[in-house]
Amino acid sequence: MKKITRFIIQVIIIGFCLLHLFPIYIVFVNSFKDRQELYSNMMAPPSEFTLEYYKLAMEKMNFFRAFGNSIIVTVASIAIIVLLASMTAWMLVRNNNRLSKLIFFVFVATMIIPFQTIMMPLMQVMGWIRDTLHIPMLNTLGGLIYMNVGFGASMAVFLYHGFIKSIPISLEEAATIDGCNKGRVFFSIVFPMLKPTTVTVMILDVIWIWNDYLLPSLTLSDKALRTIPLSTAFFFGQFTIEWNLAMAGLTLTIIPVIIFYVAAQKHIVKGVAAGAVKM
């Protein structure tokens, strides 16, 4: 008897999970249908598999270009965040004087500021830098990467700070006595030890930067610079929605996410949990 109830419970739960993923199923099956077939039955599998709509959607979204831009922005932003934030956090922990405490406090306290509060003045500041210093901060991937580093700094410093505090200093002291300078101590001894936190920071930042829409939409205006969320938004805004085409487009944007999830599921789940718990 107990076995049967257990079985039934499991079936219900699995059913619920499948229902949970139902929207993704809907997107997928309808991406192969023509308009007529789509409106005749939206839930049935397609009668034939054609990649025609994928090809069209790819063209309209300029998919490979957008994908490339997203990759560049995500990878470059994260590399810089990881490097600079770990360096900063290490110095702040190892020289825990008044100045360090103040800097750390500012990093942490500003995490609560919503993006909407600074978006407009940020655009003014970047416009000013462009006009007076002639550094192209707006409408360039470089400018977007720079701003991502600024916005990602707080959380990364916070996570590294917490982890570095728990590492004993003795190893670093031994290396110093052996004649290593601070740079070498950090890069050959400390940085490799930070790997668990580095993975956490990378995971959290991938999820954020890859999906970020508002900041890129404010800074990038060139068609050729669009990231994936931007090109999706323009694709949907352009015409009255042709849903079969739109479904192919949406599937295209979801596929990289699923590949990322399947490839790094363990790290992702761990990273997301660790990132939240330390908050």
Binding site: P23, I26, I112, P114, T117, F151, A153, I207, I268
Partner: protein, 291 residues
């Protein structure tokens, strides 16, 4: 000599990030406060006139903004409750001894990785075309119709999508909390004769209070600041009935070109977010127990 060298290293390691951070976050935040006292249409050549607290006073008679505050509060309260209940429920399933727990975790967490913008578009199709079709086929027109055309149902649609996105994420945090409960405490409760519900309410829940703090914080601040789903799912419609605060601020600044006034709203928004989340953390922290 050595001291000076140490200082140089300190500067070399700390300044680069601090510089970027200052130009991207600190400076805009500070001059943003300045902008909120100014009337300006965003055109660089047009004058910026100082209007004192006028922008802030105007907010209180701005019907569209006040109704966006109402939507946001309503949306946030309901979403936070539902997300946490479902997330916790999921977590209890996944930490049970059922064989399917890993598959369940994998499937439930998935939507969190897809960005809010994309999710909104996916659900837009479901709430409009698919629901209409189901209504026509089954004849249950009072549930299955185009939800996004009805102000009340459009808000419910926002809640559904947000829950769908966040519940799996919140589940992960609760799982972490539940797994950190020492096995012997639960065993002791069982030996003392506590059933499933009593163990849950009187042993497990008090021990995962830190998870409640985190999850409430995450859901509160995420829901209060919701923007992407709003843009792609409802666009604030029908008739601004689902326009949330973040979107209202965006529209005020970049669509209506009232930069100063919009910035005053943005400052109010900041104060609201800070107050609400700090109060919540203070309250739930107090209830955490030490092991």
């Amino acid at each position: 000599m050595r001291k000076r060298k140490d200082k140089a290293w300190y500067v070399l390691f700390v300044i680069p990030l601090l510089f970027v951070f200052t130009t991207v976050v600190i400076v805009p935040f500070v001059i943003g406060i300045g902008y909120s006292f100014i009337s300006w249409d965003g055109m660089p050549l047009n004058p910026k006139t100082f209007v004192g607290f006028d922008n802030y006073i105007r907010i209180f008679s701005d019907k569209r903004f006040l109704s966006s505050v109402t939507h946001t509060l309503l949306f946030t309260v309901i979403s936070v409750l539902i997300i946490n209940v479902i997330g916790l429920g999921f977590a209890l399933v996944v930490t049970s001894r059922l064989r399917i727990r890993n598959a369940v975790r994998t499937m439930l967490f998935m939507p969190y990785l897809i960005g809010g913008l994309i999710l909104g578009y996916i659900w837009k199709f479901i709430f409009t075309d698919l629901f209409k079709m189901i209504g026509e086929i089954t004849g249950i027109n009072n549930i299955f119709f185009s939800w996004l055309l009805n102000p009340r149902y459009a808000l419910v649609a926002m809640i559904v999508v947000t829950t769908w996105q966040m519940a799996g994420y919140i589940m992960i945090i609760y799982i972490n909390g539940i797994q950190s409960i020492p096995e012997d405490v639960v065993e002791a409760a069982k030996v003392d004769g506590a059933g499933f519900w009593r163990t849950l309410l009187h042993v497990k829940f008090p021990l995962i209070m830190p998870s409640f703090t985190i999850c409430l914080f995450m859901t509160l601040s995420n829901c209060f600041k919701i923007f992407d789903v709003n843009v792609s799912l409802t666009g604030g419609g029908p008739n601004n009935s689902t326009e949330m605060m973040a979107m209202n601020i965006y529209n005020e600044i970049f669509s209506l070109n009232r930069y100063g006034y919009g910035q005053a709203k943005a400052i109010v928004f900041f104060i609201a977010v800070a107050t609400i989340t700090l109060i919540q953390v203070a309250i739930t922290k107090k209830r955490e127990v030490e092991m």
